[in-house]
């Protein structure tokens, strides 16, 4: 591992990464559990450690609006949010993506109200899934730091030019102090040269941004945005590889663990992957094979890599830290189901809802999911509704 070993919580690690990225503008509004990120950045700016404009806005809607303007003016821009804050940003999310800004936003994943909860669900990440932002999920503090640095490089690449969200589980990662390796400032500087803006706001070359666009051209603009967004994965992979050479930490869009020869595979996002892998390791000691598949890249959804990762599975439990009312399953389940329609051979698929509002996912819960998967495989049929794990009133 390259760099210096330090202890930081997820929020501080993300703020440190944004500082090393030498951001020009931070436009943010505090909301638990990401508050420490913007507090830390405010300290850096106040101490003179970071030469950036810190815009303390009056709401998240304004936070992202100012970030859009700054990004279009050519600045490297960072912001952060969670849950209700993301909800308030929602209309600007589409605008930030459609105008091809390169904002990097950390999201301390938190459950949506009601009832008021400050702990982890993936409601907010999922709420942004269709808006045209690249999305990455960190599994630990190290990944939150690494992905923040990589997100700037990916977003600002001229073959990409889309904003990025780096997801880190509220409290589990935002507030937990872990050891991580941080790169030298010089290495980061070489990895992240100054942003070269495309079509920046320039009074000597006037352009119209976000004009009225009716039935005559709107559809062509969406067609172009779609094609551009879908062409980003090779660049993401390229940046992952380059960062791997720089840091010694290798990233891939999809992570697999113990999948070879495993009939049962559990699929998961974020910090829970560690718990699920722990159980997989314990079961492997007893001779039982359970595979684990987790995603680092969530948008664009890595369809081909996922099909490959699940190609040996007979049954897959897709675990969602969210619930989608009235949908045929929660969000990761729907994505996975659709992706697997393109596979030659499909495993049985069922949905698990777990961990809402910060409810712990215990190793015992994971074992229950494995048992449920084995039962699904034995019977050859999947449950109609998601299986709720760790909730009072279910067996």
């Amino acid at each position: 591992m390259k760099g210096k070993l330090v202890g930081m919580n997820g929020d501080r690690a993300v703020a440190f990464a944004a500082k090393q990225a030498d951001v020009d503008v931070i436009s943010a509004y505090p909301i638990t559990p990401q508050t420490i990120i913007v507090e830390t950045l405010a300290e850096y700016v106040n101490n003179g450690e970071l030469n950036a404009a810190f815009i303390p806005v009056e709401s998240e809607h304004s936070a992202l609006s100012a970030a859009v303007g700054a990004s279009l003016a050519g600045a490297r821009v960072f912001t952060a949010t969670s849950s209700q804050g993301l909800a308030l940003m929602w209309e600007i999310l589409w605008i930030a993506a459609g105008l091809r800004t390169t904002i990097v936003m950390a999201m301390g994943n938190r459950a949506l109200s009601p009832n008021i909860n400050i702990h982890c669900s993936h409601d907010d990440a999922y709420a942004a899934r269709d808006t045209g932002w690249l999305q990455f999920f960190a599994e630990n503090v190290q990944e939150a730091y690494d992905l923040t640095l990589m997100a700037f490089r990916i977003s600002e690449d001229h073959r990409v030019l889309f904003p990025s969200i780096v997801n880190l589980d509220g409290f589990i990662l935002t507030h937990a102090t872990e050891g991580l390796y941080v790169l030298d400032d010089e290495d980061v500087k070489a990895f992240l040269p100054k942003k070269k803006p495309v079509n920046p706001i320039d009074p000597s070359k006037p352009m119209t941004y976000g004009p009225l666009d009716l039935f005559d051209w709107y559809m062509e603009h969406r067609r172009l945005q779609y094609a551009s967004f879908m062409s980003t994965p090779p660049v993401i992979k390229e940046v992952f590889e380059e960062y791997g050479k720089l840091s010694g930490r290798r990233y891939t869009p999809v992570k697999t663990f113990n999948v070879e020869g495993a009939e049962v595979v559990l699929m998961v996002l974020g910090s829970s992957a560690g718990t699920v892998r722990y159980v997989s390791r314990k079961l492997a000691e007893k001779g039982k094979k359970v595979g684990v598949v987790s995603l680092t890249q969530y948008r664009p959804f890595p369809v081909r890599e996922l099909i490959e990762a699940l190609s040996g599975a007979s049954v897959v439990a897709v675990m969602d830290r969210s619930v989608s009312f009235g949908s045929p399953g929660a969000q990761l389940f729907m994505d996975t189901s659709t992706a697997l329609l393109k596979a030659k051979r499909r495993p049985l698929l069922f949905n698990v809802v777990y961990g809402l509002g910060g409810r712990d996912l215990t190793p015992g819960d994971v074992e229950k999911i494995v048992m449920k998967a084995e039962e699904v495989l034995r019977r050859g049929e999947t449950p109609e509704e998601p299986v709720w794990v760790g909730v009072r009133g279910e067996e």
Partner: protein, 98 residues
């Protein structure tokens, strides 16, 4: 304007990214005159050159000449009728059709 980028756009593959209009004054290509249902017709003999129509036209589709007489720019006039309404000497009449 003959060098215009936007007039050369044919398919989504030609578009600049971010949905920008990459040059100024492209609204001139949008001849809104064909939106008209009613057409203002000016009787120059009645006109007293007060320029109230020129001030009030929201488009602006009233062209002011050097001697303060006016001309209606039918390429962009949408036929809203404000000019006819404000004219103190009824020199502008709204007629049905384009």
């Amino acid at each position: 304007m003959s060098e215009s980028i936007v007039l050369k756009l044919k398919t989504w593959k030609d578009l600049p990214i971010g949905g920008v209009i990459p040059e100024p004054s492209t609204s001139l290509y949008n001849k809104t005159g064909n939106w008209r249902a009613m057409t203002p017709v000016l009787d120059e003999k009645k006109c007293i050159k007060c320029l109230l129509c020129w001030i009030h036209c929201p488009e602006p589709a009233i062209i002011r000449k050097d001697d303060d007489s006016v001309k209606i720019d039918y390429d962009y006039c949408k036929g809203c009728g404000i000019c006819a309404n404000v004219c103190p000497v009824h020199a502008i009449e709204m007629k049905l059709g384009v």
